[in-house]
Subunit: 206 residues, 2 copies
């Protein structure tokens, strides 16, 4: 990385950092591009060197942590399926708390909106978590953890809707209830009830 590239990277980082702070505080609709660039100490035009549209910076900011967790799920392949998903729920809700309500709101708006950019900055698909979860369930069917007749597609959406449901109602309650507490109490029972009819064998005793 030469001097010019390093300077560009630094500028972009400054923009992302400024945007993150401002959005956490005021929400995406409460700020404008000039706020971001002023805080970052650059001219307004510079923003558009790094982001095509105002929305793109918030996509980058809100997608990053959730994509990270989904990538984590992929690596946990030495664990029992249900144990793995329980852990995933837990990490997801941890992320919800860490990101804060304004970032979560943007994340939801992103996933439900048709105007999302088709690919992330690193070529990652926006609905990476759906694809990943489906893949993991398919593998579980193949290796005999789940029965052959498991409705993988439907269960994928159930799991996703459990996650986003908790997140949505957390936003609805304006962050008043505790997401982590939530997952501890209820996600096992939920996951168990979803999978109960399709579990073929336990890979190890629980």
């Amino acid at each position: 990385m030469n001097k010019r590239q390093a300077s560009a990277q630094k500028t972009k980082n400054k923009l992302v950092k400024s945007a993150l702070e401002l959005i956490k505080e005021n929400g995406f609709d409460g700020i404008n591009v000039e706020d971001i660039t002023k805080k970052a100490g650059v001219a307004k035009g510079t923003f558009y060197t790094y982001f095509k549209r105002k929305e793109d910076i918030v996509l980058e900011i809100s997608r990053a942590p959730f994509s990270e967790i989904t990538r984590e799920l992929e690596t946990m392949d030495n664990m029992e399926l249900i144990e793995r998903l329980t852990h995933y729920f837990h990490r997801f809700m941890e992320c919800v708390e860490t990101c804060g309500i304004n970032i979560c709101r943007e994340w939801i708006r992103d996933v439900i909106d048709p105007n999302h950019v088709p690919e992330n900055i690193d070529g990652q698909k926006w609905n990476y978590d759906v694809i990943m979860l489906r893949e993991i369930l398919n593998i579980a069917v193949q290796n005999g953890e789940l029965k052959k007749n498991t409705p993988v597609e439907a269960i994928t959406y159930i799991i996703i809707s459990e996650l986003y449901g908790m997140m949505t109602s957390w936003c609805m309650s304006d962050g008043k209830f505790e997401p982590l507490d939530w997952t501890h109490k209820f996600c096992e029972i939920q996951i168990a009830s979803i999978f109960e009819p399709y579990i073929k064998k336990w890979r190890k005793s629980l």
Copy 2:
């Protein structure tokens, strides 16, 4: 209602109807106030006689059908609690399908957003469904359908998150899966697993 009031009502209806059609087709972000007024055949300024902000018309449009269903739930008090909730889920998802994806997207954006107006046009609170559901569960505890130790607050949010979770993932899938099919298959098992530890007695045999 005199001639002037009737004319005003008619104008407002024209605005709502035009907005509904335009939003169903293009989504809220894809239209502007002038589109709405042009389609309704009135001047731009007229819009602001009936709505304070551009957002307010979409709130009125997207809230109406869902508030309607919640009000329905209130009247079903001759039914078994779980039966009642199952029916509520069913009606909710029916509404999701009827409203179409763009209205549902606005509804979600409304419930997760802090910038919502505090009250609806008819004085109804925005989180009417949360309040109503909590009330119904409290009554069930009082009349002995549910045990005294039922965590009403938590269960209220679980039910809400199931509903919005399904809705959110429906929007995510861009309307590809069938919400009604969904509820038929899964809502009973979900509701049963949530309530199982707290059911005290069945009011009638199922």
